[in-house]
Symmetry: C2
Subunit: 220 residues, 2 copies
């Protein structure tokens, strides 16, 4: 346990990728894998992999490699995926609905318990196997169901108004598709931002650099 608490931020950021690869190997029936094999599949160096995975120790054995299932489970555990955090989706427009049908929440530590939208015409439509609720019922729902996480697919202004309300209701984690900067205003929250347009602008920069044969600038 003490080892786990010392894992660096950069290793944590790479863990989801290890989790994905190990999941695939496990599914394919692979029982063990050497750091060299794993490095080839993941496009990392074997020494990087050994360094990363040694952080939580005891899995790699000289001449044996890693036990795939054990490592997969341990990484899932470190990521907290066994928790099934109760989650609400707010905003059932195009993006919200696409996430609801595209993402396998339950396999990534989340249990979607409610979907909300402010549009009356949306009320009762089925999203993620449940009827969309109106925002007027949000506070009561949270008091009764205690969601910990909100997926915000609303306009930016709505997010700004919603977060303080949700915080008071115990929602501490946010998967934020808006541009409202939650952490700046509420540092005591857990937030992952998905800023798709920012991503797209970086790609524009990279392609422009590539056209100028500037590979260094193309790989940001």
């Amino acid at each position: 346990m003490s080892k786990r608490e010392n894992i660096s931020t950069s290793v944590i950021k790479r863990l989801p990728r290890y989790y994905r690869f190990l999941n695939g190997l496990n599914r394919d029936g692979v029982v063990r894998i050497s750091s060299r094999e794993l490095s080839i599949r993941m496009g990392l160096t074997a020494s990087q992999i050994r360094q990363d995975l040694n952080c939580f120790g005891g899995f790699g054995q000289q001449g044996y490699g890693y036990n795939v299932e054990q490592l997969f489970k341990e990484i899932g555990h470190i990521l907290g995926l066994q928790n099934l955090h109760k989650t609400i989706l707010i905003g059932a427009g195009n993006m919200g609905r696409a996430l609801a049908s595209h993402i396998d929440f339950e396999h990534h530590g989340f249990h979607v318990v409610g979907v909300f939208d402010k549009k009356e015409s949306m009320a009762g439509q089925m999203v993620h196997g449940m009827p969309v609720r109106l925002m007027s019922g949000l506070e009561d729902f949270c008091r009764n169901n205690h969601p910990e996480i909100a997926i915000l697919c609303t306009p930016d202004e709505a997010a700004e108004q919603l977060v303080p309300v949700l915080l008071k209701l115990g929602v501490m984690g946010y998967w934020n598709f808006t541009h409202y900067d939650i952490v700046a205003k509420h540092p005591d929250t857990a937030v992952q931002n998905v800023h798709l347009e920012d991503n797209l602008m970086r790609l524009s920069y990279q392609v422009s650099a590539l056209k100028n044969n500037d590979m260094k600038r193309a790989n940001i």
Copy 2:
């Protein structure tokens, strides 16, 4: 111009955020802004902002601040947003369609010229104001229209088969929603990956840390 080429990767990564804020200010009719004002709005320090924006010099003036419109345009120019890169969307499932209706491509440097899907039942359906084309027509379309960028919303295996074909047809930039690691196999490409599930797993880690009152681990 020489100044521009020396901009560091970390500054480039922050530019889309500056662009968004300056866009908002410009739209609201703000003509100039001090680094201090901008820092409050963006949740950065004034000295960070001065350091970042001095990279491409000549915009901030002591006692005057930044000319919003000029800075906004210059950052857009550095990001290559004036280029309108010809773009194709491959995979018109939930995520592809959501992106097509959610993202303002044209304001972020991209011009979507074609939408493709392998499902015959999708053919002819309207997405982003144009009929979905079948994959069988992809190569001819690229030869005639010369798209530079592909948005990949396909299964991972399809992406692995598609990228070499697209590369030969001149598609050098990829907005990659699959888990296929394009850069590892094709280093001479410009790629932005959007790995939504990885993001979600990081959030799970953060929320678990937050519940243990471990703020350091909650802010990765």
